[in-house]
């Protein structure tokens, strides 16, 4: 518990990471929401301030959870993880702390966007808020595994661009910034991505229904696959069987 407390403190103090995860989504939202009063997303009845609130919640929380990888890569490069491996801290607790920290920042990002959104007059039913948040938190699981995987594959120098690039690509293809439509190649590609389903999770707040069987399957497969690869990368990295 003490260990986790200082890990969180450390994360909050790391300005760069905290700004990217918390401030940037909010700033983008402020710009978009302030300039789009009462306008709707073209072709739909969804106000832009609602649409972008949930989209940025997706983008911000995704980056927050992937950020675990950035911290793991930094610790590997400086040799700190060697030091940690000589403490009684178990591998499970090490990753547990990283994932929890990622989720804590993700939770803060989502909450902050909700508050700012509400300040701009976004009104949703209590059930919508809760259901959307629940789906988001589950939808972030494969990203936590992806973050750990990247953290063990890439060095600290390269992890910024790699995680940033992966998140931008996943966000773009998954339909974070604009709807991917309901047909065409992009649509089929998108459906295989966890980011698409994270976006669908956020649409629950706009009154859409939750994931069908396909959504759960894609999230499950990505989680399982990334976790397996992450374990292999970890074993190779530490010379353990």
């Amino acid at each position: 518990m003490t260990y986790l407390r200082y890990e969180l403190l450390r994360t909050v103090r790391n300005r760069r990471f905290f700004i990217i995860s918390l401030a940037i989504p909010v700033v983008i939202y402020l710009i978009v929401a302030a300039s789009s009063h009462a306008k709707n997303l073209p072709g739909t009845g969804i106000p832009l301030k609602v649409y972008f609130m949930v989209s940025l919640a997706v983008f911000g929380s995704m980056n927050a959870v992937l950020g675990a990888g950035t911290r793991i890569a930094a610790e590997r490069t400086t040799g700190w993880n060697r030091q940690l491996r000589l403490t009684p801290l178990s591998t499970r607790a090490y990753f547990g702390t990283k994932v929890f920290t990622g989720y804590a920042v993700a939770g803060a990002t989502i909450a902050l966007l909700y508050v700012v959104g509400a300040g701009f007059g976004v009104r949703l039913g209590a059930a919508n808020w809760l259901e959307m948040t629940g789906y988001l938190l589950v939808g972030l699981v494969p990203f936590a595994a992806l973050g750990i995987l990247l953290g063990h594959l890439v060095t600290a120098d390269a992890v910024g661009p790699t995680v940033g690039g992966a998140s931008a690509l996943l966000a773009f293809l998954g339909g974070v910034w604009f709807p991917v439509g309901t047909s065409g190649v992009l649509y089929y590609v998108a459906q295989a991505l966890p980011s698409y389903w994270l976006v669908q999770a956020s649409r629950v707040g706009l009154g859409a229904s939750g994931w069908g069987r396909e959504g759960w399957l894609v999230i499950g497969i990505w989680t399982f696959g990334a976790a397996r690869l992450a374990m292999r990368a970890y074993a190779r990295d530490t010379g353990r069987a």
């Binding site: 518990m1 003490t2 260990y3 200082y6 890990e7 403190l9 450390r10 994360t11 103090r13 790391n14 610790e75 400086t78 040799g79 700190w80 060697r82 030091q83 491996r85 000589l86 403490t87 009684p88 801290l89 178990s90 530490t238 010379g239 353990r240 069987a241």
Partner: protein, 300 residues
């Protein structure tokens, strides 16, 4: 042979080869070593002797290609998980964004019998930097913090990989004074060094490594006696060291200006041969062996 295996450390047939772009490097080539609990052992050797590789395997940080490691009757991982190991690794940065005290508090929370953080800060004399962020420390300060991290564990086994590298003479002295005080508590201490005087003064056993193998093992006095090493000093300008090295009984030659220092395995034979071959040699002195001479002879 098996003394202390239950309570101490046993390395059996350890081997490790690294693959590099210049081909494989055999870093450790078959090491057998028993360390009884409570012993202070220096792993002494030049750079590239395989000391750090051996330590990594002992700590479970890397897997041996062959051989086994037993620490307090179990695997290194089990000993680490039980909090029985405190280690000071070579180099490596500290985790950033925490103060020294916070970092130590975080680590202390992981150990079942951790030492009090403020007491440790005092012991290592870093109380005055306790509230500084770790990324703002000087090299010497970081070194002390890493020492504090090892002591904080209150572990039965302390492993220190070249702990005084980069310290000035004063810090080095302070470091060993602290260590000496702590070692009296029945702790097992293993440290790697390439400073002969550190091994000589502090360890009660020296294991000398060269080229991935153990070349000598004993108390500092035994090591000196084992090589029966004596040195011959003489003033003898203008003779190449290689000519002197080929004299019988001579194991190593060092030139110091007009003088030469011959490390000898048989100083009687060497002095006779020296005088016969180079009648111009004068100011000849024969002295008892220094650890340095033994070191030169055994690791060559």
């Amino acid at each position: 042979m098996s003394v202390g295996v239950e309570t101490g450390i046993a390395l059996r047939g350890l081997r490790k080869t690294y693959r590099t772009s210049d081909g494989p490097i055999e870093a450790v080539r078959g090491i057998d070593l028993d360390i009884a609990a409570g012993q202070t052992l220096a792993l002494l050797g030049p750079n590239g002797a395989g000391k750090s590789t051996t330590i990594d395997m002992l700590l479970g940080l890397s897997r041996p290609d062959a051989g086994t490691v037993t620490v307090f009757g179990g695997t290194p991982e089990e000993a680490v998980a039980a909090g029985s190991v405190g280690a000071m690794l070579q180099a490596g940065a500290l985790m950033r964004d925490l103060t020294v005290r916070e970092l130590l508090l975080q680590l202390a929370s992981l150990y079942p019998h951790a030492e009090d953080v403020d007491k440790t800060l005092e012991l290592v004399e870093i109380t005055q930097i306790a509230n500084q962020r770790t990324q703002k420390l000087s090299g010497g300060q970081s070194q002390r913090v890493r020492f504090a991290m090892a002591l904080l564990t209150n572990a039965d086994l302390l492993v220190l990989d070249e702990p005084t590298v980069g310290m000035d003479v004063e810090s080095r002295h302070a470091f060993w004074t602290t260590m000496r005080r702590l070692a009296s508590g029945g702790r097992t201490v293993l440290f790697a060094t390439h400073y002969l005087e550190e091994a000589d003064e502090f360890a009660d056993r020296i294991v000398l490594m060269a080229h991935g193998e153990i070349v000598a093992d004993g108390t500092p006095n035994e090591i000196k006696a084992k090589v029966g090493s004596r040195t011959i000093r003489a003033t003898l300008p203008d003779v190449p060291a290689s000519d002197l090295e080929s004299l019988p009984g001579v194991t190593a030659v060092e030139r110091r200006g007009a003088g030469v220092v011959l490390a000898c395995s048989d100083s009687d034979a060497a002095v006779r041969a020296l005088v016969a071959a180079f009648p111009e040699a004068h100011n000849i002195e024969i002295g008892g062996g220094s650890l340095e001479a033994a070191f030169l002879e055994l690791t060559a």
